[in-house]
Symmetry: D2
Subunit: 343 residues, 4 copies
């Protein structure tokens, strides 16, 4: 039983990654890849790693009927075209922020005017580690945002163990240039962006809304650093009571011991003692770890993902696997590379 799948917005970074994943997925047949800007060109024209794939971009206006449609379009497009998408496919997985928030009020607080607010309640947010059960059978899926994913994977074990404290956690995220998408103006040019430690969203990054919705308020700041792929969240948490390292190991192990895509990495010897985006580049894995700071009564949690994968296309495929009852890890087995540079 193979399912057919399409990607709308397939010439962007997340779209290209979806093509790669679906082309290698044992349960999906990749049917269609649409792109407004690259219609009729081969997918290898936009994505050099996919030169071996015999597929051309088609006009997004003409959607084939498929089992699953992945929408990797810029924010705002999915809410406009959602009826077309649902007409074309039984299951729609949207990678944009359009359907991630539960209510129109929340949406209006962070974005500008939703065109289809009545659908917000129908959509299921996808961070399988958070809400796997709700995803089973879901037909409109809003795949979680990259920075929110990294942050929530770090905070969930503490939230479950009631260790977040009454003081708002501070979250300092470092991201690669692929978060800015395939276009990019002067600030994204190599000469201006190389080697940066650049305050990218000092405050008020929109992914804060997703974190607030599921975990609670955080004081959130995003920096751009010199890598292409990767999002690394460092969460500074001040629990109300004294905790031990053993407590923390307990909390993190309990939360993640059965998770196929989460690895606990904390201390030990060697070069790679804590989570790093490099170690998961190209994969759907998240590394999560922590260190206790007794002097300051602080838990420092580190969480690292590949923003294009676990933070976007991989998360979407993972969610589709769960929604459709497919083996969760199908098509997502790549283990990553060592050594690897700025991924």
């Amino acid at each position: 039983m193979t399912l057919t799948a399409s990607v709308v917005g397939a010439s962007g970074f997340a779209g290209g990654e979806l093509l790669r994943l679906l082309a290698g997925h044992p349960e999906f047949d990749l049917e269609q890849a649409t792109s407004r800007s690259a219609t009729r060109k081969t997918v290898g024209h936009a994505h050099p790693n996919l030169r071996g794939l015999d597929l051309r971009f088609t006009d997004p206006a003409d959607l084939d009927s498929v089992d699953v449609l992945f929408a990797a379009t810029p924010h705002g497009v999915s809410m406009e075209r959602i009826d077309d998408f649902r007409d074309a496919a039984d299951t729609v997985v949207d990678l944009s922020a359009d359907f991630r928030l539960n209510t129109e009020d929340q949406y209006d607080e962070w974005y500008d005017g939703h065109e289809r607010p009545e659908l917000l309640a129908d959509a299921t947010y996808a961070l399988p580690e958070l809400n796997r059960e709700e995803l089973a059978g879901a037909d409109l899926i809003a795949s979680g945002g990259c920075n929110a994913t990294a942050t929530m994977l770090g905070l969930l074990p503490l939230a479950d163990a009631d260790l977040l404290g009454s003081q708002r956690p501070v979250v300092d995220v470092k991201v690669g240039s692929s978060e800015g998408g395939a276009g990019g103006g002067a600030a994204a040019s190599h000469a201006e962006r190389s080697g940066v430690v650049r305050p990218y969203a000092p405050t008020s990054h929109r992914h804060e809304a997703e974190i607030e919705q599921f975990v609670g308020r955080v004081a959130f700041t995003v920096h751009a650093v010199d890598m292409v792929r990767g999002a690394s969240a460092t969460c500074h948490v001040f629990p109300d009571e004294r905790v031990t390292t053993g407590d923390l190991w307990g909390a993190f192990r309990e939360r993640y011991e059965d998770e196929p895509f989460v690895r606990l990495v904390s201390g030990g010897g060697g070069v790679y003692r804590y989570p790093e985006p490099k170690s998961v580049a190209g994969t759907n894995y998240a590394e999560v770890g922590f260190e206790l700071d007794p002097r300051n009564g602080r838990i420092v949690v580190f969480s690292a993902i590949d923003n294009v994968m676990k933070g976007s296309a991989g998360q979407a495929v993972h969610a589709a696997n769960v929604a459709l009852g497919i083996e969760e890890t199908a098509g997502l087995e790549f283990q990553g590379l060592h050594p690897v540079g700025a991924p």
Copy 2:
């Protein structure tokens, strides 16, 4: 029919890549990973991408009996231990330079004193695109060197078409830091090596010997540039007679049309018009392309590989697949990533 396989020297970069490939290979069972320096540690200690693998390094003195043994040890070790290796396995694939040259004279010209020169004639060099036929059934395989591989893949079509000319081709290779291996002194430190365009082997790089053995003499120079993985060979060739772009397309297509791991990339639009190491990072693919320079009667050939994969571990697994009659591409299907930074 699953075959058992071991990796000797598994804590180095090529060794780690072999572990990754063999663990995901449909026809091999990974049996043993040896390391002198990391004995008893998990393979994930050295290779963070392999944290999910339940395997510990063992002492290289104790080799299990397996079907295939891959030796990823520093140059000089294999010739010392070759009897042990062959006792332990029917098929030995050596990734070092120890058995790449045909004769003791050649070896002495480029290296220092071979300990088992009588075996040189028994070993089969492995660049499947060059000598696939000889590899079938081979039991002592010398996997080709990274820079030689990149260069020969660029030159072979011209050699076959008798277009190399009487003037020696100039080959200018750019390599990443992984070529220096997992150790590295002051010159390899991040602060000293970042952002370099550094003459690494201005002349007399030993891979020249392999190229000379199979294709002929070249004037060879290697630069270190700022990437971790990748080898890119630019070959400047001066044919004796005038050629057309059509002639060149003919020569390259004829040579490579049936090759599963070679992609011709030459011109066209978009960002990626010529071979680039980024486009094949993490994969066993080579990109090969060219441009004609009529003003100077020159053919410029570009060839890009991942030195740890097509230039080392991937090549070795490819050769083992051929030698043992397995599907050539088995275990080597990863397509690479886009976008990707300094891989």
Copy 3:
């Protein structure tokens, strides 16, 4: 009136920068450069940018008599050799941590056993923006640490304006590979360190002691990122009362309006809206800026320096200028470059 100056430990990164600064300083004559490892070699051997300088490293055991001696030796060396240093020079500027803390108790809390604790009270800490007055005429100067410098420059205006709040500030610092010095083991190799976002000191970094001594307690974490030079401190501060952006501009302007090496950078258009290490690479400048987060009652302060300059050699020369009554900016006028890569 030209003063003579020497550099002990001149083959390291800070030492090389001192040589460059002193060679170009209008009031200093560079007399001697010592190095244990490179004795008798030219300074250009270690520092390629100084190939034009006709000077050779000498044995650190033989110190000439000079007016000012700069010690850029590893931590622990200065306390052993401090009598030699003071015999050789009227003014000693130590770039290590040996004399930065005021009391033996403090020292023992963060380091291991001081050999000359009685001198701690004699030494003057050097962050001219903090204690310029005390530096005038000082003869034993302990130049401030790079990460402490970046952090304190960010926090001082808030401390002065009593805006630090009762909740401990969280400080998340990102640093380049030059902080690890010129040696470097496996973790510092280019292949392992390229492209990292690596928790480098999750907690308990020793520079915390200096910050605590002068500004108060902070919850401090240091990450290694992919640059060679640079330290960027992001300080998350929670004032007890509501503040406005106008209040903050007032506090920062008042603190820094007469400072020759501090630039306020906050908002505005263009690519460079906030402090970035790139913008001050190679210079003695610090960029400091902030953004208010009303949603979370938070002030986010950004502070960026070149760790080898304002965080080390430049700071030391600045301090010597102040101590000796020389024009503060003498020898430190370089404005930095644009564009510049990973500096």
Copy 4:
């Protein structure tokens, strides 16, 4: 006697560097900085390193009368506005390619239709190491191209010593992203350009014309690599007769012993044995070196510059110094940094 100077096209990379150099130049007063796109903004808006400079961009249509005008406009602008420029200033230094070639025929072979061909013969090309004498008193100066500068500095000693041979030299140049200028489309975005070894001009780069004009024909290829500043030319030369390393040292020393901005770097120990762009980043210096390849009868010459400095703005100021009888090195004394990343 201070001279007044202006920069037209001052918001670009070369223009910003001119501002920096002129603001720190002992003999020039920086009068005006024009920019079409940034009129009325501070120069620090475009160039963060110049935030301390109290100067705003003005409209390029309104040129003040000055002693020297530097034009850092895109190719084609100077030939259109040359009369305005010469009306405004006695000495015009043009950084574009508009006046570099001697004849209209040459120009038409490489570019498209010159608007003021009659001026080509009046202009003096500026590579001071090539034609210092002609520059004295010149009033229309065409500053040499970056890649041509790097290449010619490598080849001139061999040309003078008649060692270029009858076989065309092969020149393989590696350049940083600043060569593409401050704009940049998709190919220049950080995500697409990071970590590249990208054939940038496989053949027919226009700087070939300058090299041909002064040194002779070369087979020329340019690669983009991962740095922002820097151009490194590797020249493979096949002399007709056998030469010794001693002959080469003789040739290079004789050519450059009195040159203030050329350093011979060839062999020796340590990390930096050959010319590297890193070692001269931010400076007007060129490093030149070589190695003999007896096996192939080849001389490999390495030449490294900072393309924005010695390849553009620094070269232009150097030329103005020579033309106006100012000390050659005035304003160009910066020695560069060590360590430094991808500059």
